[in-house]
Symmetry: D2
Subunit: 139 residues, 4 copies
């Protein structure tokens, strides 16, 4: 399972572009790290919500993937993200966890933390889909 | 108003990194274009939901900003995005529109279209906040 | 199709309790009316968000159901609702419309209007699931 | 604070209609109980998502209210609810908790449990607004 997750995330051009780093994989829980970079800012110099959401989405997606059967692929159906405070800081930890897994849909929650803070600055609730036997969709 | 929006979007490192291009600004409506690039893909080679969300979020945020008083700054409070179909294609049009504007909160809807299709492949519902007189937050 | 929708909605105890009335059914669009009643208020005397959401959810669910195959049943996967203004008024029109329908998931948007107003006071983005052959789930 | 929450929730016609019962109030956490009743069902006989959402919304709203200044009133801005499984059972516990509180906005998460189950059947992420000095809005 760890190999499947690692292999899939390494195929994400977006994670490479953002410099996101896979920190931990457990069954139902994935942590990804992101560093501040002014290539990914919004207009006030904070990290853009889209960069935060990209990494949280991947963390939730792979948390879901980690509980799916080996022949399933994962796609994001929908997510809601709250930006609880500006994404100020240098090191960001993004954690995705499975809330409940059904046969076709897996619901996850994600939280983003800046510089070791205890309280998250962003919170996600995400619905992931398990895909089987669809051409062009693997992993 | 157009100058304020253009000036603010040009300060977004994230939009430059994604190569996003501002196509149109009207009062309450902003359109941004994005091209396919394998730097922004997910594991199946489609555009990553995070790239789509980043640009839709900016389109909605600036649509909201376009109806705010000149001394307001804009921050994303929360959004929900549905990925209706994989982000397959070469040219993507992301359109954000104001649904209703209050004094402090502006709610917008966004839609993303691939290669001139009539039906969107992604839909967003976003809540934006007007910020006044907060140090470090301008535009 | 109209008969299937009408039959299913008549089995909803919640719609009867709220006094909700089915106004219109087209392929991909359902309208339901609700009257103000102090049995359904929140603490300031406005209609409770839950009453608004209940009816919008049903309007979106049946809009989705109206485009599903005859042997499908419909369940709500997730929705996001924005309360754009307090639900003040006497007569409320709730409209659900399909944005895009896939094989298993149908995404809808809903809007709620008070007393014939042009601008909605609530907006929903909903994900509905088509269920096949599940015991106890029909219609 | 407990008296303020209790007083406000008793003014909600919707909670009385649903027979919802306030079980616990702590700073940042509110629990409300709901019993199965066929007046609040959807078409398959499960509890309607709207009934679940109404009570979770109130649990989250009062969790937010419990951390606001005494002169604030609370209104729901937006929430996302995932129905993780059909609302089957007789006794439902709905718990709202504050994730992070700002001056004007408080973000909460809610979970709904059936018949003492460990895993929730519904999950909410909600954004609540603190209102000051608005005529007709108190509590």
């Amino acid at each position: 399972m760890v190999a499947r997750v690692r292999d899939s995330i390494e195929r994400q051009g977006m994670m490479a572009t953002l410099g996101a780093e896979l920190i931990g994989i457990e069954r139902g829980r994935v942590e990804i790290a992101l560093r501040y970079d002014d290539r990914f800012t919004q207009q006030h110099g904070f990290l853009h919500a889209g960069a935060v959401a990209s990494v949280l989405d991947s963390a939730c997606g792979y948390a879901a993937y980690s509980v799916m059967p080996p022949d399933a692929s994962v796609l994001t159906v929908t997510y809601t993200i709250n930006l609880l405070a500006p994404a100020a800081g240098q090191h960001f930890a993004m954690i995705g966890q499975v809330v409940r897994a059904g046969r076709n849909l897996v619901v996850c929650r994600g939280e983003a933390f800046a510089d070791g803070a205890e309280r998250p600055f962003a919170a996600m609730q995400a619905t992931m889909s398990a895909i089987y036997n669809r051409p062009g969709v693997s992993g």
